[in-house]
């Protein structure tokens, strides 16, 4: 299993949203950053890719990222709500997604428009 898979747990997944919890003991926080643990921005992209892959039922990869906008930091232990709009067309999957705080939908962390294959 990839080392990154243990970064987060899926608490709940339904039509409307996926709820995620960041694993505060993950080793990545030792290096990012020493004494000030913050989830690397690229790993938010990874979480979304893993969630969409599960939903589609096969491993997907980014083919293009039109826009990924980081609005606020994600810290260890945070619980997050992923809302996603997924359109599949001939093997190509268009994803529009937002990550917000699980309990406060106004607390936006990230907005993404991307294409996966």
């Amino acid at each position: 299993m990839s080392q990154i898979s243990t970064l987060f747990d899926i608490i709940e997944a339904n039509q409307e949203a996926v709820l995620l919890k960041m694993n505060e003991n993950h080793p990545v926080y030792q290096g990012h950053f020493p004494g000030n643990p913050i989830t690397p921005g690229v790993l938010s992209l990874r979480m979304i890719r893993e969630c969409v892959s599960r939903e589609i039922g096969r491993p997907l990869h980014y083919a293009a990222i039109k826009n990924c906008r980081y609005v606020a930091l994600i810290r260890p232990g945070d619980t997050l709500r992923l809302q996603r709009q997924i359109t599949e067309n001939e093997g190509s999957v268009t994803v529009k997604a937002t990550l917000t705080d699980a309990n406060n939908p106004d607390d936006l962390r990230l907005q993404l428009e991307a294409e996966m294959r």
């Binding site: 080793p27 950053f33 690229v42």
Partner: protein, 142 residues
């Protein structure tokens, strides 16, 4: 202005990231608008997937750390402390699969497009063995 390439020891004086997520092992400053970096993928790189290939997010992190090294280099030259930086956004990113494997060396060229206040916008191109793996625009906020 040009400097010889930095090695891993020098890199950690330019960026705040540390293992297990240190994704640059060589850096050279060409001029205010251009810099280059490298990374040879080790067998224990955290971005390696079950397929044995590096996840595309690992290349994005390598690009982000190259931008961080550019900012860190200029801050050091100016006698300032290296500070933490965060990705502001990623745009126009095109990924060419297949991704590289352990033992492959990434080479990245950054063009600095603009710097406004604490935000640096770069255009990046990462290649392995002369094949372009990724191009993107990225902003780093320090």
């Amino acid at each position: 202005m040009s400097t010889p390439a930095c090695n891993t020891n020098d890199i950690i004086s330019l960026i705040p990231q540390r293992p297990p997520i240190l994704m640059v092992d060589g850096f050279s400053f060409e001029d205010e608008q251009n810099c280059n970096s490298t990374l040879t993928i080790s067998g224990d790189n955290m971005f390696l997937e079950e397929s044995g290939r590096l996840a595309e997010e690992g290349i994005l992190e390598h690009i982000a750390q190259t931008a961080a090294a550019y900012v860190g280099y200029l801050r050091k030259q100016a006698g300032k402390e290296v500070n933490m930086g965060y990705i502001g956004d990623i745009k126009r990113c095109v990924v060419n699969h297949p991704m590289p494997m352990a033992g492959d060396t990434l080479t990245t060229h950054l063009t600095i497009m603009s710097q406004v206040g604490n935000i640096t916008m770069v255009a990046a191109e990462t290649a392995v063995n002369g094949q372009t793996l990724m191009t993107c625009r990225m902003k780093l906020a320090n």
